[in-house]
């Protein structure tokens, strides 16, 4: 009894102390912290400077907010789970957020819940659309915008540029065969084919493979190394950390890699260019619309070349022949809708793509 009592006492003391602490805090919360943050970003797994989705998105927010003089801040969830993401969103809302940007498809479930919990807050979900836990219900509420990208255009640019730069033996290593990855791959094949036609080439070899996951594994690295040993000059590493395994193999074989999603040139000297998604551009564009009271709520937007939704980072690319002028021409054609690219809905598998010069070897 004595022990229980003394422990109770201890708890009372601790919580009493906190109560004393919180009382004065509760009243002057507003004046004590005049800074609220209007634009908030919740980081996905990883840090803010992850050279990937977090960083790309955050750069877009900073660029827009600095220009428009709007307060902004990022919040880090305690862990990677729907509940933790929701808790971070709650923090952001408490911190005065009016619009919350979330990068990565892992936010699809949290935003599905959050869009109902916070009807007065707007959500921008990058690279995904809200759905429930078992994918049975997809719903984008009025206060939410889901943004995806025309990956096939990005892949097209990469394939086109690689062939134009003189590479004739190409490789594609996708992660899991999900629609986004397939679109990248199909675009890559068709871009290479068009470039070959323009250059009058007779044959381009392209090895094509899905690793089945998004992790860096020794198996991926071994396969990439064997491709390089068989003469492959450049591999498009398309799918999370798969690219890192390809880079390791390329570093050993002194060959080249094409990056994905964000500008990966800093990760390895072997990266000649990256098939980028326009994270920064799309965020800036939607934020601009938001502040112009034209928030495209309830929509699932697809960002393509016309809205700078795809690009190659020409300033950091290591091309020998392919120039900025060449790039601008093909990009303008894409943006103008002059180029038709078959995507995952148009061809059952990669060998059925309408290409004539590129010989696709599908590796299972």
């Amino acid at each position: 009894m004595k022990k229980i009592l003394s422990l109770l006492l201890m708890v009372i003391m601790v919580f009493g102390l906190t109560a004393c602490g919180s009382k004065p805090a509760a009243q002057p919360t507003q004046p004590a912290q005049p800074t609220t943050y209007e634009i908030a970003m919740i980081t996905d797994i990883g840090t803010i400077d992850d050279k990937s989705f977090n960083q790309g998105t955050w750069e877009g927010i900073v660029a827009y907010a600095d220009k428009s003089k709007i307060t902004h801040k990022y919040y880090k969830p305690t862990e990677q789970s729907t509940d933790a993401y929701l808790a971070a969103i709650q923090l952001a809302v408490d911190g005065g957020a009016k619009v919350i940007v979330t990068p990565g498809f892992l936010f699809e479930e949290p935003i599905f819940k959050a869009q109902d919990l916070y009807p007065n807050v707007s959500f921008i979900l990058i690279d995904g659309n809200p759905h429930n836990a078992d994918y049975s219900v997809f719903r984008t509420a009025k206060n939410t915008v889901g943004i995806t990208f025309a990956e096939e255009q990005s892949g097209y640019l990469a394939g086109y540029a690689a062939v134009k730069d003189g590479y004739t033996k190409l490789g594609f290593m996708g992660g899991m065969a999900v629609p986004a990855v397939i679109r990248f791959g199909y675009g890559f094949v068709q871009g290479a084919d068009v470039a070959a036609k323009e250059m009058g080439l007779t044959s381009i070899d392209l090895k094509y493979h899905y690793t089945g996951g998004f992790d860096a594994t020794p198996e991926v690295q071994t396969l990439a190394a064997s491709w390089y040993a068989q003469g492959t000059e450049v591999i498009f590493g398309c799918g999370g950390a798969v690219g890192n395994s390809v880079m390791s193999a390329a570093e050993a074989a002194k060959t080249k890699v094409i990056g994905v999603d964000v500008n990966q040139s800093a990760e390895s000297d072997t990266v000649i260019t990256s098939a980028m998604k326009g994270l920064s551009a799309s965020v800036q564009s939607v934020l601009t619309e938001y502040h112009a009271n034209k928030f495209p709520g309830g929509q699932s937007l697809v960002y393509a070349a016309d809205k700078n939704g795809v690009q190659l980072p020409m300033e950091s690319s290591k091309f020998k022949k392919f120039t900025k002028a060449d790039y601008d021409v093909v990009f303008a054609a894409l943006a103008a809708g002059k180029i038709k690219i078959a995507n995952d809905k148009d061809a059952a598998d990669v060998t059925k793509l309408p290409v004539s010069i590129v010989k696709v070897t599908f590796v299972k």
Binding site: K2, M10, M13, Y74, D83, L91, L117, A133, G213, F214
Partner: protein, 372 residues
Amino acid sequence: MKTFRKILLGEEFNRATASIIAILIGLLVGFLVLLISNSAEALAGFKIILSGGFSTGAKGMGQVLYFATPLILTGLSVGFAFKTGLFNIGTPGQFIIGAFAAVYIGVTCTFLPAPLHWIAALLAATIAGGLWALIPGILKAYLNVHEVISSIMMNYIGMYLANYLTKSTIYDIRKAQSLNVADSAVLPKGGLDYIFYNDLGGVKDLSTVNSGIWIAIVVAILIYFIINKTTFGYELKACGFNQNASNYAGINAKRSIVLSMVIAGMLAGLGGGLLYLSGASGRHLKVVDMLAVEGFNGIPVALLGLSNPIGIIFSAFIIAYITQGGNYLQTLNFAPEVIDIIIACIIYFSAFALYFRKLLPFLIKKGRGDRQ
């Protein structure tokens, strides 16, 4: 009134006081770090840490309980081992192996009906954690290999094994994490969903907390009774205090060491199970090369709770409470990374400051002066 005075002068109170002083010292250090990182908002930040889980309403308090659940178990694991003279630094390994076992049963054994399914998953977690501690226990008892070394080894083996097994059996490749466990394997809310939620315009924003916290508290009380009231606990403690004298008294010290380690491992394993059976929106197993933080945090929890199971419940609450408050610091202009440092400072300085417990009686005696 008389009993109250007795409490004030009692041993237990002295210990509780020492823990409170330790926490205050930890908070003071935390405040210094706050001052260094952002002096303008240090005071406001400190108030947020103190208001802890209350900062985010009833849901926030629910989250405190949710975070406290695995800490109670790993704290018990470390504390129980301490009481029996062992330093179980293998909690991260036991924890993650237990977590894997629970999730594996939760994902695969879908033929089991609801209460049986999660009970089976928790049992699997407990057994797996116990097995993971069995090896260091045997090495210690029969080959005199120090348990710290073998358990650190087992931590890494456990982490990589859990990674490997997760990836090869129950992996959701798209999300790069374990598959959702079946609904029948998710721990029931145990009535807590009526308390811990925030009302957002008619919509319930539920806390993750579930009946896991009840289980943790019941287990802590159970361990308290085992340690303090049973002949079994008497034997285990005796071996912890003095192995020679235990042999002299006819206690099988080797057996006691193995059993102590196994029970400690079972507790940590159960902690893993409780944390990871929280449903689709809760925690999932990741394939990361990092030892489970909840495992290591069992050490400061046990220190702060003075290895007393009931004390451990409260110290786990306090640490979860401060952690939750720290998370809320993000509303101020503190970088999330700095916040991690601040919280770590508070927790670990609190644990260190327990050396005050040794100083306290001395200081009181000195204060009393010549009356002695």
